[in-house]
Symmetry: C2
Subunit: 492 residues, 2 copies
């Protein structure tokens, strides 16, 4: 089995696909635009999901599950939302197949089983959820309602990429209802902070927190907050969004509550989500030409141990010591595997676990054992070291923390280096083409200018960062006055 | 808020719906046959899912995720499977909506966006998974392949019931591939045992393990093993199935492997699943006319504490003691809530938590505190006791174990009482109508007899129990010779 990876320099996009496929995170499927998440990729997602789920619960949210289907009449109730997603909707029109009379052994859609009303497969669940909230919310005592859902959604994208943009993807979507605008806004920002903390502390992925321009808002939102990350090719990636929905859905679905003062008021809403897309961000932010590099906190496997031996006698001695080390590592909570399979040589195994991005590799040979030593290799820096076997579990546990921190700092340094100011159009275009990254530039605040810049350069406004300083200037494109810089980039 | 529940005696079916709706496990939705799983019901499902997931992983399985959609041509590849599910398939035919020119603000399916090949929403995933396994399995080294998926599936049922039979439901489906028939059969039975253990130890639900008759087999299986439970109305409920699929899917999807002897052979398969239907079984097996009764091991909330006080001074003293008790209970891993909300009186709270089936209720008043005592109420037996506050956490922890065991024993005694022998048709019909439950009777082994019995009585063969003793007799219906009794029942 040859597992050659295209280098980033040769073809960044092919490098990415190679990592996903050969690293066994995902596979193409027989369904256009849909992927199979393989066990290794799913284990990574489970670790991410569990960490996020805990953070949601710690901030007072509970999980629930709403239908996959949205009747068309509900789907179209909030017009902006419907318009925003209409072009990407998979639609169920029939509920039965039958034997094809003209084609032995084949099935056909039964024309007699046409639905009276078509069902949209949820591209997002505001419509079906707010239609339910109408029944659950009567009085201020029912608020806030803080619900999250883990689910699959479908958006029929024309150009798909493994993890980054697939027709079906897995995600979570929080949907909350509040008595006041202020409270909803606090929630919107709180969940953005949860996402940022998760990205930085678990994924080792530094992010910029900010708010989207009007054109980049979620369809149906009053404001969309986001976290933006930078990939190694200098393109930005939106890693999570948190929307302040105002009273748009409450009005569309007539969700009112009785205030303490005995008045009927529409409730205020938020929604927020992250998806399996985060795995694409993780891969592109950290990996190298030898394969994946996964941050220890979410890596499915944190440590792999490979034995080096000749003959059964040596193997037995190594096995015995490895059993001890495994037990010690498990005791401190490390996810470890002993790969003593006989199908492959150690060199092959080294390359395989490098490909899979396992943070730490231990290689233990009979000779090391005599010297009471073991070889420790870091995936991120590729540094190898021979260390004492005494206290090896504590050493490795500490090393995992060090790697987690190192990966974050490295990604942050790269990100910080790649935020550059442009003060005129020439600079803007030159920076974009030669350096990529984020470009901090003045913008006149109009959608026209934003569209024109996007048309000419494919760069979009990624966000107006939180706590953005006021600064007088002129728009790089229109020359009109501007009060602050915003961040532009080409993006995934 | 009135939360009257219909009694079992008055209307068993309405009693069941009342429990689900008023116990806030689930709600009806705007989509025909689909339900909303509410936070309380979903927390119950999470506990069930986590326990099962651990058991699957402990037996060597890994999770993965396959597409929601199955292209029609793949779906029909295994003919028996396709035929079995064709009548229940939701079908996606279009991938876009557009503005309806004749209807302002409304959307319509865009006729230009018709899919070349229709997509079936998975009613089960054998087809899409085996089409993928073809690429993953080359040699004996790739076997066994032990994969599980947690997913939503859709079966367009005409008559739906909350949890028991819904158009969309949540489940897990294991799909394994093996080198030999023997190994696949061992896996089939092993997973049936996992289900039985889960049902009995976590759900306190005694089950009978057995194998289905040919007519009741999963479409595409060589053999279907099942666990069957008994509900309080004497109807049976299939709680989980594990299928030996032989080489049917391997042949349909051309999945061969290279043996150690360098030969190409088709692989052998199993699949097995349990779903949110289990929640329906749980409710119907244990609950009473006051509400749900949930087994402690999977109850979202195991203990609720209600304060009894007059005035703020008393409340403060009670609060302080409750904080201690809560900390002690959490330390021993008990899921506990303190309900000191001021909206409702203690009596209302007692009824509410009875309705919700919380296993243990503690009521602490200022006077109890003076005596260093607390009132402990069991949900299952409704027994109340005043006990010392010293070591209360250990007492409650022990009580939860006792309740779990008591619930199982009670359900088992009921089940055992309700397995009766019938030796002729008159007895069979009489028992079925007057006592319900399982009827152990001789059957001639033919599908014709099975069908005739079903037509006449609505009773089906639930299973041929594992380790069923050989016994010569005559079929209750046809009078033909029979070598063993099988279990009949009317079923959900």
């Amino acid at each position: 089995m040859s597992k050659e990876i295209t280098s980033r320099a040769a073809d960044y996009s092919q490098w990415y696909n190679d990592l996903i496929i050969k690293g066994e995170l995902a596979d193409y499927s027989a369904v256009r635009g849909c992927m199979v998440i393989r066990p290794y990729g799913y284990a990574l997602w489970e670790n991410m999901r569990d960490a996020l789920d805990k953070m949601f619960k710690d901030t007072g949210h509970v999980n629930a599950y709403f239908p996959l289907f949205v009747p068309k009449s509900l789907f179209e109730a909030e017009e902006k939302n419907a318009e925003g997603f209409a072009k990407e909707c998979a639609v169920v029109t029939h509920y039965r197949l039958k034997t094809d009379p003209n084609n032995k052994g084949k099935l056909m859609v039964d024309p007699e089983a046409k639905l009276e009303e078509e069902l949209v497969i949820r591209p997002t669940s505001e419509a079906i959820i707010w239609n339910t909230y109408k029944d659950w919310i009567q009085s201020y005592r029912d608020l806030p309602l803080l619900i999250n859902q883990w689910a699959n959604v479908v958006r029929w994208e024309m150009r798909t990429r493994l993890f980054l943009r697939t027709a079906e993807f897995l995600w979570q979507e929080g949907h909350t209802a509040h008595a006041t605008a202020e409270e909803a806004l606090v929630e919107t920002k709180k969940m953005l902070d949860v996402y940022a903390t998760f990205a930085e502390e678990f994924m080792a992925l530094p992010v910029i927190r900010g708010v989207k321009s009007a054109s980049e808002r979620f369809a149906g939102a009053e404001d969309t907050y986001c976290i933006e990350a930078l990939m190694q090719d200098g393109k930005a990636l939106q890693a999570g969004t948190s929307h302040f929905l105002g009273q748009n859905f409450a009005k569309a679905f007539d969700v009112k509550y009785l205030t303490k003062e005995n008045k009927q008021e529409y409730v205020w809403a938020t929604s927020w989500g992250v998806s399996t897309r985060l795995i694409g961000a993780l891969v592109m932010a950290h990996s190298d030409d030898q394969g994946l590099i996964l941050p220890p906190r979410i890596a499915p496997l944190q440590v792999v141990i490979v034995p080096i031996y000749k003959g059964e006698d040596q193997k037995k001695i190594v096995d015995a010591k490895v059993a001890e080390i495994m037990a010690d590592l498990k005791r401190v909570g490390v996810r470890v595997k002993y790969d003593d399979s006989e199908n492959q040589r150690p060199g092959w195994k080294f390359a395989e676990y490098e490909m899979k991005g396992v943070p730490v590799r231990l290689a233990l040979g009979a000779r090391d054992l005599e010297k009471n030593e073991i070889e420790v290799a870091r995936r991120d820096t590729k540094e190898k070291k021979v260390v004492s076997l005494d206290g090896i579990a504590q050493y490795v546990d500490g090393l995992l923390l060090e790697i987690q921190e190192f990966m974050y700092n490295k990604a942050k340094a790269f990100r910080d280096e790649n935020i550059r100011k442009a003060d005129n159009w020439e600079e803007f275009v030159k920076l974009l083409d030669e350096k990529a990254g984020f470009i901090s530039a003045h913008w006149d605040g109009t959608a026209e200018t934003e569209d024109a810049i996007k048309d000419k350069t494919k760069a979009t406004i990624r966000c107006i960062p939180n706590d953005n300083p006021a600064e007088d200037g002129v728009c790089v494109f229109s020359g009109k006055p501007s009060t602050q810089r915003v961040l532009f980039a080409r993006a995934y």
